[in-house]
């Protein structure tokens, strides 16, 4: 009998005695009641026995099966390398530009904090940078979660951990770090604390960076060369400081492949703390800013005129008198007040000559040429920060003339460099890229000028540096060619004589350009050394010279001792067919101081 078993199992003495005196007390209704009670008691007892058994099993399961060691290890390790959710960004040589580190973020669970004042005091001791009132407010809050500080350093984490405060806990996170700091800040961009790309490559390639990480395909390789980037930013910063400019931008591009090797925009910021500086610092002047580039546009005007066959190198225009159109007067800043050949117009940066050249081509021809160069639309680019050109609504004669020397149409330095590369690389326009391109993966591009026009442009650009406004861009042995540009900045009250955008765009070596270099200074002020001049030739051109002087050896180019130092010889070398014409031009050049 079941009840007997139960009795034996626990063996109190009284049941035996009851067995010995069976049911003496159990009679009638009372007896039945007790028997029913007993039967049901077995059910209740079984339920309790079962409950105790469950407790024992559960305790064993947790204590033995919980494997605390593994769990703790996994928690403290946080995340392993394979689970990083965002790929690194590296330069063309594999130098790290952006990476992800495991980090600990500190949060509070106010509901668990025992003594708020004590906790605040302890936290302030461990992390002195915190805002005491804010921490107090967070710790006194009603909720169960409040961030105190994201992305602690290991030393900070250890210090807070040592406090042993209940309710103060760490969340394992991944934090984006930029080991090069501000160096390529505008290109690489940055993310928010949740690793969502907010700017630059980080934003444009947000999904791609995650895909690369998930599929383990390695880092995203940019076309940038950190060494060139370093030189560009350094020299640009020096010039911005020297000429007390409000900013500056620069680019180095490979005209044969369209790869951008360096972009700088000053002022800049540290992407590790992107919001620390003013909004202006996060503005990418090179790609998002649009400017009237000034005389640099004469490169395009001259190429347009030569390419269309309207003029030849032997032709020229009378630049003795300023042009008066409506209320405006177009004059030359380096006035020669005489007939000028095309090379002279270019070398002396004659506005009058450029305007007449453009008038000969006509508004329609000019517009279609500039459109072909991509000046009327925002360019396709690898960054989200792309500026929209400001194109005049109506295009009359005045527009034709002013655009000829770079006023009236505002484009970004990026667009300028893109078009300039086509002028010197044989005539092929390529969309510039920030991603490294293998030699066989170079975009074919579109031909925008004849290769002979490109040859002529290279000779003219070289002459600018040898004998014209760009002399201070010269670097012996590198055959630098280029064009200065000095634009008066537009304001509500018209163009301002005191606020210039001074630029130099150049390439080297001019016989087969490997690099295009642009430097633009925003509102430089003249110095004693420049006799008060703040034009492109005085400010941006020497900057470009210093850059070329430094990057030449870096990219394995030794200065060539064999390069001709005489302009005539140089022009003959670059333009063997037309050397006679160029030679006569140069003869007249040497007559003018």
């Amino acid at each position: 009998m079941k009840q007997l078993d139960l009795q034996h199992a626990f063996a109190p003495r009284s049941p035996l005695r009851i067995q010995a005196r069976p049911d003496l007390w159990l009679e009638g209704d009372t007896k039945r009641a007790v028997e029913q009670g007993r039967r049901r008691l077995v059910v209740a007892a079984a339920a309790f026995a079962f409950a105790f058994l469950v407790l024992a099993l559960r305790a064993s399961e947790i204590a033995v099966g919980g494997s605390p060691g593994d769990d703790t290890a996994a928690r403290s390790a946080g995340v392993n390398a394979a689970s990083f959710e965002r790929a690194d960004i590296v330069d063309r040589n594999g130098v790290l530009l952006a990476s992800t580190l495991p980090t600990a973020s500190l949060y509070a669970n106010p509901a668990r904090i025992l003594d708020v004042d004590e906790a605040v005091a302890a936290l302030m001791g461990a992390l002195p940078g915190l805002d005491q009132d804010e921490v107090l407010r967070k710790l006194s809050g009603k909720g169960t979660f409040a961030w105190i500080k994201r992305g602690l350093s290991p030393a900070q984490e250890s210090a807070v951990h040592a406090l042993g405060l209940p309710g103060i806990q760490f969340q394992r996170e991944q934090r984006r770090v930029y080991p090069q700091g501000a160096l390529a800040a505008h290109i690489v961009g940055f993310t928010d604390v949740d690793n969502q790309g907010l700017a630059g490559i980080e934003k444009a390639f947000d999904d791609e960076l995650r895909r690369l990480a998930i599929e383990g395909e390695g880092p995203l390789t940019l076309s940038l060369d950190v060494r060139l980037q370093q030189v560009l930013r350094d020299e640009l910063a020096k010039s911005v400081a020297e000429f007390r400019a409000i900013g500056g931008t620069g680019m180095i591009v490979d005209p044969k492949t369209g790869e951008i090797l360096a972009i700088a925009s000053l002022p800049d910021f540290d992407p590790n703390h992107p919001m620390a500086g003013p909004d202006e610092a996060r503005f990418n002047r090179a790609t998002l800013g649009v400017y009237e580039m000034g005389s640099i546009f004469k490169v395009f005007t001259t190429a347009m005129a030569l390419d269309g066959g309207k003029v030849g190198l032997v032709d020229g225009y009378d630049a003795s008198e300023p042009i008066r159109v409506a209320r405006y007067t177009i004059s030359d800043s380096h006035a020669k007040s005489r007939w000028l050949s095309i090379p002279e117009i270019f070398i002396y940066s004659s506005n009058i000559g450029a305007a007449k050249m453009a008038m000969d081509v006509g508004a329609e021809g000019q517009k279609s040429f500039l459109k072909k160069l991509g000046f009327f639309r925002p360019p396709a680019f690898d960054l989200p920060e792309v500026g929209e050109p400001i194109v005049p609504a109506t295009w009359g004669d005045l527009t034709t003339m002013t655009v000829a020397f770079g006023h009236g149409l505002a484009i970004s330095p990026l667009q300028t460099v893109t078009a300039f590369a086509a002028m010197v690389n044989g005539g092929t326009l390529r969309t510039l890229t920030l991603l490294r391109r293998d030699a066989d993966a170079v975009a074919p591009g579109t031909a925008v000028i004849k290769s002979t026009t490109s040859d002529a442009m290279r000779a003219l650009l070289r002459l600018v540096v040898m004998a014209g406004t760009g002399k201070s861009a010269n670097v012996p042995g590198y055959a630098v060619g280029g064009k200065t540009g000095t634009a008066e900045k537009a304001s509500a009250a018209g163009y301002r004589k005191d606020a210039l955008l001074s630029s130099f765009i150049g390439a080297f070596p001019m016989d087969d350009p490997r690099y295009v270099v642009l430097v633009t200074l925003d509102e430089p002020k003249g110095t004693k050394a420049t006799y008060g001049y703040a034009t492109g030739g005085w400010t941006a051109a020497p900057t470009v010279a210093r850059i070329i002087d430094r990057i030449g050896p870096l990219v394995g180019m030794a200065p060539r001792a064999s390069d001709p130092t005489d302009p005539t010889e140089a022009a003959e070398a670059l333009l063997p067919g037309d050397h006679a014409v160029v030679g006569s031009t140069l003869a007249s050049l040497s007559a003018v101081p």
């Binding site: 024992a56 064993s60 947790i62 033995v64």
Partner: protein, 374 residues
């Protein structure tokens, strides 16, 4: 083993030879385990709330001998005395229970304590054993004399008690009282229809509690979905079991007591798990199971309905309290304020449990029925 001669007819000698010494030993052992665990767990709690490190230990060590005295003196009583004491006590504590919401001290959102002569008393703790005995008497009386409305009276008493407990509010206590009374009613011959009906009402009551009492809702939500809200105590308790493993980290080596606010009371089982390990925990579970099931076996052997029901009720109270407490520690149930009998800190709880177990020992004494002849 014994200093008493079997022929000795003194009260103490008779008690010694008739009382269930196994249960007594198990309870003493539990109290000893409790003393050790209070020493382990309470200093860090005391430090956190800013009292002397031995605050809880000193108080508990006053209550422990006191409760032992209550246990032994009560166990000397005859069944009739037990019934009368229980009835008298119930009347007093019901009075206190009525007063508690009016003059009591509010702690952590509930008013459960009432100050009498410098002592803080949780009257509801004393309701449980007294009501168990009283209800048993009422049920038994109805079966013995069908004209006596015992079932109705006990039901009325039960509802009154539940109402007073909900006022505090004290859901854990409601659950215990319900389990005790329900089991007794079940054993007293409740028809199955009524069993089903009352079970339905109990479930309905639980659902009503869920929707009307926010802290009940929170705790059940957290239990069902641990990602919502604060499961800190529950998580930490589970961590304690993981960290403890088989043999524990060693006495004094635990860390969860430093962070569990109720380490000395509701979560003392977790402290035991961390410092002394699974084997100690299984030992504690076994002690509770032993006392509870042995109580049932005694009840089974009873031939008088009152004793059967009273012993069952007291065992259920003791067992259900232990089970709920440990189940919460092991995250098998939503968090609920419930002490671990004889182990958790708490004077009211300790003395009330001693009273209840004293009743049980008195009722299960050999020849106890002889004293009931009156």
């Amino acid at each position: 083993m014994s200093g008493f001669d079997r022929a000795d007819r003194s009260v103490l000698a008779r008690w010694w030879w008739t009382v269930d010494r196994w249960t007594l030993a198990a309870l003493m052992l539990l109290a000893a385990v409790g003393a050790i665990l209070i020493m382990a767990a309470s200093p860090s709690v005391a430090e956190r709330i800013g009292v002397a490190p031995f605050h809880f230990i000193e108080r508990q060590f006053v209550f422990l001998p006191l409760s032992l005295g209550v246990l032994l003196i009560t166990s000397l009583a005859s069944p009739v005395t037990v019934r009368r004491v229980a009835l008298a006590c119930l009347a007093i504590v019901l009075g206190l229970l009525v007063l508690t919401p009016l003059v009591g001290t509010e702690i952590k959102g509930a008013t459960r304590w009432i100050a009498i002569g410098g002592l803080s008393i949780q009257a509801s703790e004393f309701v449980k054993p007294c009501f168990a005995v009283t209800a048993a008497w009422l049920f038994a009386s109805q079966r013995g004399n069908p004209s006596f409305p015992g079932n109705l009276l006990s039901a009325g008493l039960y509802l009154a008690i539940v109402a007073l407990l909900v006022l505090q509010p004290d859901v854990g206590m409601v659950a215990t009282v319900t389990a005790v009374w329900g089991t007794q009613f079940f054993l007293a011959g409740l028809r199955m229809v009524w069993v089903a009906l009352l079970a339905t009402i109990a479930v309905a009551g639980l659902i009503a509690g869920y929707y009307t009492m926010s802290h009940v809702q929170d705790r059940i939500d957290q239990f069902l979905d641990p990602t919502t809200g604060d499961t800190y105590q529950a998580d930490t308790a589970i961590m304690a079991f993981e960290q403890g493993g088989l043999f524990g980290r060693g006495p004094g080596q635990g860390v969860v007591k430093d962070i569990l606010p109720d380490a000395h009371a509701d979560y003392i089982f977790a402290v035991a798990a961390e410092e002394f390990g699974l084997i100690a925990c299984l030992g504690i579970i076994a002690l509770f199971a032993f006392v509870t099931l042995r109580g049932f076996v005694f009840a089974y052997a009873e031939k008088r309905l009152f004793a059967l029901l009273a012993v069952t009720g007291l065992s259920v109270q003791f067992g259900i309290q232990a089970i709920i407490n440990m189940a919460v520690n092991l995250r098998l149930m939503p968090a609920k304020g419930m002490t671990l009998p004889f182990i958790s800190y708490g004077g009211s709880s300790l003395i009330a449990l001693a009273l209840g177990m004293g009743f049980l020992l008195a009722l299960t004494r050999r020849n106890a029925e002889q004293g009931a002849g009156a």
